[in-house]
Symmetry: C2
Subunit: 195 residues, 2 copies
Amino acid sequence: MGEKSNPKEAIVTTAARLFFSQGYHATGLNQIIKESCTPKGSLYHYFPDGKEELAHVCIGKANEHIVHKFRDTFAAYDNTGDAIRYFIHETADEAEAAGFTGFLPFSFWAAVETSCISDRLRKACQEVFTAWQEIVAERLRLDGFHETKAYELALLIISMMEGALIISLTHQTKEPMLNAADYLSVLTKNADLMN
Amino acid sequence: MGEKSNPKEAIVTTAARLFFSQGYHATGLNQIIKESCTPKGSLYHYFPDGKEELAHVCIGKANEHIVHKFRDTFAAYDNTGDAIRYFIHETADEAEAAGFTGFLPFSFWAAVETSCISDRLRKACQEVFTAWQEIVAERLRLDGFHETKAYELALLIISMMEGALIISLTHQTKEPMLNAADYLSVLTKNADLMN
């Protein structure tokens, strides 16, 4: 194990990997220290508030990664529908490559496990979902959607992506995600039919 | 605390309440024993395999409850769209009444937390999602949908319900669920427009 980098970075990378693969509750500080190959003092030096503070940083890093992925994908496609379809297919491929295990996406441990134990972490997750919704809504406005409709549709897209991911991981098959990708792609091109 | 009933029932009721309100990992057997007011020996007598076996029973019980709710709701409405809309509104009201905390719906702890630690529990969750999909698909066929379309649409409905619930609980507001309810209601009435 042991990510090569400075101690703070090694701790965050290891913590993120463990939180995402085995969950928040199941991950202990001792395991993070051991697998990051950093001295015990480093973790407490950089993260005096311990696990919750570390989780907060990991939520921020995971969000950055996904926001970049959204922006890159949107830049590469003519319309929101095709971009979302590609984005979901990519995520489904990643989940499959990880064997549908040890692959806990953002919402899983963050929004779910931590919401019931820490309001600070719940709020961090709320900001993440809001950021995603804003990026998608912004792109939908470029497609010609009005503000309110763009926000509603964006919320729907994020909800569907999260839900389909859960079902896919539980079934250990890409089908629920690909089903959602097809539907969302058609929906964003025909949303005027849905009023 | 202490649910009044026979020891086995008291253990299951208490375990389900704790798993659902604080998650699988965060719930210990000692807490279940204490809050169910049963002797320590009872839990190990009825559930010799311990926590995993107990969780398996709780998944089954939660599923029964939701399957009944689906059937009752479908029986009360003329079409799938209106029934799903009502079902989601009811769930949203329950979540709000519980303060959006201490309210971990089925998918949360079950599919999410346990999938990565136990294949037996993952499979139990898979069966639950499949059962829901079949009930919804069956109802959609009564609306005139062909078999394949009914299954796809049912999968979409379950995915959307799960995802919207996660976002609602994270935001501590009913809006994402009500947004999903509106769309799904319109969608099931106009699915022919989406091909």
